[in-house]
Symmetry: C2
Subunit: 217 residues, 2 copies
């Protein structure tokens, strides 16, 4: 039994090393530009087939990475939503959309490649469906958030609500990727911290939800 456990730990450590190496290479060179062989090498695996042995295809590896992050972000969102009271206003709900993501990335520190990885995956015709599924499965809290937004904006037409949800998701994804990229490149950032970046995003997203709806006859 003890032997079995050590073996499990070894497998687990190998998988972890492969995930970390993959995400870094994906962020720096592009998901499709990186071969599974390069990931195995970067993870210190002598066996070039380590990725396919542990994960299957590259799509399976992308799915495993997306799932990990989706679960981390969801856990943070559940904690924030548990603290939200009946008097919550639009800004409180928008904060529950933004801060779980910026806090997750901040906690990754120098190992933060998630922003650049997920921005690529979101735009990729083959990968976007895979990761949408992972995020939907890992995010039951999103319904509570949508309900909260709805209560704050009862007159917003359903299709505009849907449109602004999509805008919110893209703004968060892209601005997180922008800041992560700037930090990695030692380039100037518009904000001094992830917390300030979240403030800027929340300011913009709250205003976006409150915008009057132009209708043409």
């Amino acid at each position: 039994m003890a032997g079995r456990t050590r073996r499990d730990e070894q497998v687990s450590a190998t998988r972890e090393a492969l995930l970390i190496a993959a995400e870094r290479l994906f962020a720096e060179h592009g998901v499709h530009a990186v071969a599974n062989r390069q990931i195995s090498e970067a993870a210190g695996q002598g066996n070039n087939a380590a990725v396919s042995y542990h994960f299957g295809t590259k799509i399976d590896l992308v799915r495993a990475l997306a799932r990990r992050h989706a679960e981390g972000i969801e856990a943070g969102r559940v904690r924030m939503l548990a603290d939200i009271g009946d008097s919550a206003d639009l800004r409180d709900w928008v904060a529950c959309a933004v801060r779980p993501v910026t806090r997750h990335v901040e906690a990754l520190g120098a190992s933060s490649w998630y922003g650049r990885f997920i921005a690529q995956v979101t735009a990729d015709p083959a990968l976007r469906a895979v990761t949408s599924e992972e995020f939907a499965a890992a995010s039951p809290s999103m319904q509570k958030l949508q309900d909260g937004l709805n209560r704050c904006l009862p007159d917003l037409p359903a299709e505009v609500h849907a449109e602004r949800s999509v805008m919110t998701r893209h703004l968060i994804t892209q601005m997180v990727a922008e800041r992560e990229r700037a930090l990695a490149d030692n380039a100037p950032t518009s904000r001094a911290s992830w917390r300030e970046t979240a403030n800027g995003l929340i300011d913009a997203v709250v205003a976006l939800w409150q915008a009057p709806v132009t209708r043409e006859d």
Copy 2:
């Protein structure tokens, strides 16, 4: 001389066929998932090396595609800005950011792959610099637009202005890609036309620029 001209026309038609085939395949399968050989085949070129003969590397091909669109969008923006008067308000300036893009894509009709193509390129570590250069070179009008936004929002801190410019760019890119994808997939769209999509974007972007700036001490 006449022979030379026919030859030029032939070359020009081949390049055009390659660009169209490339963009469609990039939009549907992903820029990196498509081999130059597949592009040559889809363009009806017997010679598998047609892409490298006419464009060089895939990066050169991506650059040529980005340049064409950037020039088309710029031409539309120059026309809009020529009509803008001294009494222009924030919404007029934001319209000059949004409508040249939605009109460009609308004019492409069923051959619209630009939105999905440019969303991928924007997220790609190797390609984003290439296309940023093309867009910067083709967009001298952007400075006039930024100056107009500045005049409407004189108290906005420079770094927040820069941040909201980036947000505006991402929102336009991503929402154009969303609608183009939905149309290609025969999926429901939140708006009935590109003009309505532009209205929704302008509503959101105007509000985003007007949002109060939260500062923490």
